[in-house]
């Protein structure tokens, strides 16, 4: 018997006796014999030691960021994760519990979610934040759906500078329902085209959806968009990089009605794309339209402070087909990592991370633009920037990899007009030495 199953043959015999059964097989007689007990063609069982070796082997087939300088971003980021984070999310009491339905037995999880909500609000300058969505893309999609619910309008104006993956997920999410989606093109500086915005946003528009800094790394000018949207009764949905909020004005200050973002950067490794966590916040007036879980503060009969899941009538387990979303399991542990990260970094730490990213990225950009054949295109940016390369981007990356460097993100597939461009990302994880190494390599490649 497996080390994961405590009961022995003797235990099973005792239980079967209590049941008046002869064998465990009897319990499955309800299943037609010909469908019962298929022999699963799976690899044979392995001991713990063998599994360890096998998985170490598989993992070592991957080139990891501990051992390679990396200039990839585009929606997943290599930021520093303090050791404390893993120690906290590695506490069995956290990671082997589930959704805190039984509040009295779950105050640890509940308080940490309340704190997560509070810090997401602080970061975003918003009134309320939920306990998490799956990831940035689905948070954005849910924001689109919520905007429609809140406005009873079914048209979304979506910036082409929004993460193309997010735009696709939004389309996936809305394919079964009534929703018009219009792309809002960018100007030459890489920002939302104000003129077209003026044309597209109308009295039917549920929301304008933009990203700050946008997918191309550029800093959008949100004030006119916000004004426009609100004038026409539409909501402004802003998707943010939470790390940038250590430095930049929060969406709440820029007019956002719903703010979402990918929370991976807050204390979580890139982990080949998941688990990540969707941040989701909005203005107070829309709280009952929100998807996902919310934790609130309350008291017990003796007046002691305590925390509970609240406003549950928005959720599927109460409202079923009328729920604001179908989400049930979310990304609680990743949110806990984010909460731990934000607590450890605090006010000063997050600011410092953002500044390090900003200055390092600008240093790298300047150095690269200075290279013959390389050109930086588009406008002001935060930690990501677009470079037109003298040799095809794929070739650049290939040759960087020959030097052990994981290069930048080729924009061709998403932005045909930027086919000869790479999106570079520089964070606090990139030492000057790494940046100089990159620049040196690019110089060689450009020759």
């Amino acid at each position: 018997m497996s080390s994961y199953i405590p009961n022995t043959d003797a235990d099973r015999a005792r239980m079967l006796e209590a049941l008046g059964s002869d064998s465990v097989d009897q319990l499955f007689e309800v299943i037609p014999a010909e469908k019962r007990f298929p022999a699963l063609k799976l690899p044979g069982p392995l001991s713990e030691m063998e599994v360890k070796t096998l998985l170490r082997g598989l993992s070592e087939k991957n080139a990891d960021l501990d051992h390679h300088p990396c200039f990839l971003g585009a929606g997943a980021y290599h930021h520093f994760v303090p050791s404390v984070v893993d120690h906290i999310i590695g506490r069995g009491e956290f990671y082997t519990a589930y959704t805190p339905y039984q509040a009295e037995a779950s105050q640890g999880t509940l308080i940490s979610i309340y704190e997560f909500q509070s810090m997401v609000c602080a970061l975003m300058g918003m009134d309320v934040a939920n306990a998490s969505m799956y990831d940035g893309a689905t948070a954005l999609a849910e924001a689109g759906l919520m905007a429609a619910r809140a406005t009873r309008r079914y048209k979304l104006i979506v910036a082409s500078t929004l993460n193309p993956g997010y735009r696709r997920v939004l389309r996936t999410y809305t394919q079964g329902i009534r929703m018009e989606i219009h792309d809002l093109r960018r100007d030459d500086d890489g920002r939302v085209d104000a003129v077209q915005a003026e044309e597209l946003i109308d009295g039917e528009t549920a929301a304008v959806v933009v990203q700050q800094p946008n997918f191309l790394g550029c800093l959008e000018d949100l004030a006119p968009l916000s004004e426009l949207a609100h004038q026409r009764g539409a909501l402004l949905v802003v998707c943010v990089d939470p790390i940038s909020l250590g430095l930049l004005k929060p969406p709440g200050e820029l007019g956002a009605d719903i703010a979402v973002g990918e929370g991976q950067s807050l204390g979580n490794p890139p982990s080949y794309g998941g688990p990540y966590v969707g941040l989701f916040a909005c203005r107070q007036q829309y709280v009952r339209q929100m998807p996902g879980r919310l934790v609130g503060m309350t008291t017990d009969a003796e007046g002691r402070r305590g925390f509970v899941l609240t406003l549950q009538p928005r959720e599927q387990h109460i409202r079923r087909e009328k729920a604001t979303s179908n989400i049930c399991t979310n990304e609680a542990l990743v949110a806990l990592a984010a909460a731990t990260y934000l607590a450890a970094m605090g006010k000063a730490g997050l600011h410092q991370v953002a500044e390090l990213c900003y200055h390092k990225a600008h240093y790298a950009a300047r150095e690269i633009e200075g290279l013959p054949g390389y050109e930086r295109v588009l406008g002001d940016f935060f930690k990501e920037f677009v470079i037109r390369t003298p040799v095809p981007p794929a070739e650049v990356n290939k040759r960087l990899w020959e030097r052990g460097i994981i290069g930048a993100y080729p924009l061709a597939a998403d932005y045909p007009e930027l086919t000869d461009c790479l999106l570079f990302c520089v964070t606090e994880m990139n030492s000057r030495e790494q940046i100089d190494q990159l620049v040196g390599a690019l110089r060689g490649i450009g020759r």
């Binding site: 690899p43 170490r56 990839l72 959704t99 930049l248 017990d300 049930c328």
Partner: protein, 483 residues
């Protein structure tokens, strides 16, 4: 109880240590720079103390029995935690060149295969991030299938009254109208009603097997037959697969689409509410509609030195991606380690023991609590607290009393078709001694409901807080601290 971070914060404290700037400064975009950021300020020591203390306020699988029905709160092997944290898994970027992440892609490819073998449904997407997300994926696949056949008149979906809330909620998100199907007196879907409701306007049926009563759907083949005959498809909610591993393949029982909960059946821990994994398996016919990308394997097996495994985006009929990248990779690693540890036979023993444990509880508690559907169960059993409710002791009271007796309560008030429901799922990782201790506690509570109802109604008493004012919480929501 532990204060909040913001209450522990003190100006100027730092809990981080970052490298100093090693490049020249650049000018900041001053009009975009924020004025203030009111995050807490604490030293590392205080952060660790705070969250460690918080953790101790939780019940958890690692500290006790957690028979939360429908959630499969099995023990999560520590091995899985360790392997998933390997830098070669955790520290790889989703946009890396695929040739540099062949180990990750191989793992995903093999996991797809294993799940296909287990479910009897050959095409798998690992992209959905939880069960409900798998449902969304699967229902959109069903929708795409019908539309692709030009069958655009199907606007409704049938959902049994016993279904989990995510099922109808999902159908709505996919634009379907939900029609509820009754359960019969044995806890099965009512076949006659199904037959009556099923027609060419119905896209499909969302079925759970074993259903949320913990009961095997006795007429599943007939049900599938009825739905398929009318051109509909069967969406099977696989949250309860812990009953069927190596016991039966949903694909052979008529399911066209099935989501799995990697965080339930395949031992990835629940994380206090996630991350999960909602890998979704479909028939060959539906393969083309799965989200992009799926992981493919080159026929040549990369023997030419090229990459063997790759992300396949070239799927024109796909519903599109459902998430940012390729799914919760970290969760997949745990599920993969679990499957490799157990093998096919080991999986069958998992379900055998899960089902045996549940039946033992069912048998031991019968007579103490009402059993609305009195037949052998699968991996969980659902009692009703109706008898106790008549004495003024409700299921919620009994749940709270269990907390005082050291157990996490079962799922309560679900499924909705059982009054005062108590849904108990022991899983295979609990010992007979634990089950017996739980039985003793439940019987004690049944006794107390008669002899000392106040005792039950006034529980819990041993927790850091008593029962909380949920009405107040909802009336004037306080959802964040005032900094």
């Amino acid at each position: 109880m532990e204060p909040l971070l913001i209450e522990l914060s003190s100006p100027g404290r730092v809990g981080f240590s970052l490298p100093s700037l090693d490049v020249p400064e650049s000018e900041l975009p001053n009009d975009l720079v924020r004025d203030d950021l009111t995050l807490p300020e604490l030293s590392e020591r205080e952060v660790v103390q705070h969250f460690t203390r918080l953790s101790q306020l939780n019940f958890s699988v690692d500290t006790g029995f957690y028979p939360l029905g429908s959630c499969t709160m099995k023990y999560n092997p520590k091995l899985n935690e360790d392997v998933a944290r390997h830098p070669g898994f955790a520290q790889i970027h989703p946009r890396q060149d695929q040739s540099t992440v062949q180990g990750a892609l191989q793992l995903m490819s093999e996991l797809q295969e294993y799940l296909a073998e287990i479910t009897g449904l050959p095409a798998v997407s690992l992209q959905p991030l939880a069960g409900a997300h798998g449902e969304l994926t699967g229902m959109l696949v069903i929708r795409a299938y019908h539309l692709n056949r030009g069958d655009d008149d199907r606007h409704t979906v049938l959902v049994p009254d016993s279904a989990h809330g995510t099922n109808p909620a999902t159908a709505t998100m996919c634009g379907y109208e939900v029609i509820t199907v009754r359960s019969d007196h044995r806890g099965n879907i009512d076949v006659q009603e199904l037959d009556r409701l099923m027609d060419h306007r119905v896209a499909g049926l969302m079925l759970t097997n074993p259903n949320t009563l913990g009961l095997y759907e006795e007429h599943i083949l007939e049900v599938a037959e009825i739905v398929h005959r009318a051109g509909g498809l069967i969406y099977c909610d696989g949250a309860n697969m812990n009953a069927l591993l190596g016991i039966a393949r949903p694909g052979e029982l008529g399911a066209d689409v099935l989501h799995l909960n990697l965080h339930k059946t395949f031992s990835a821990p629940h994380g206090g509410g996630g991350p999960g994994g909602g890998g979704t398996a479909v028939t060959e016919e539906l393969r083309a509609f799965l989200p992009i990308p799926v992981v493919g394997r080159t026929a040549g097996g990369g023997s030419d030195g090229g990459a063997e495994y790759y992300l396949d985006y070239d799927r024109p009929l796909s519903i599109g991606p459902v998430s940012s990248f390729y799914g919760n990779f970290g969760v997949m690693v745990k599920a993969y380690a679990y499957l490799r540890s157990l093998g096919g036979h080991g999986l069958r023993t998992v379900s055998e023991n899960a089902v045996l444990n549940a039946n033992y509880l069912r048998q031991q508690l019968t007579g103490y609590f009402e059993l609305p559907y009195d037949r052998p169960c699968m991996h969980e059993c659902v009692f009703s607290g109706k008898a106790q409710a008549r004495l003024g002791v409700h299921t919620l009271d009994m749940a709270k009393r269990l907390i005082d007796l050291g157990f996490h309560p079962p799922t309560v008030y679900f499924p909705l078709i059982v009054d005062e429901a108590l849904m108990i799922e022991p899983t295979e990782t609990e010992s007979l001694e634990t089950l017996d201790a739980f039985v003793a506690a439940m019987r004690q509570i049944a006794r107390e409901a008669e002899d000392a109802p106040e005792l039950v109604r006034d529980s819990p008493r041993t927790t850091p807080v008593g029962r909380l004012d949920e009405v107040g919480a909802a009336r004037k929501p306080n959802l964040k601290w005032q900094a």
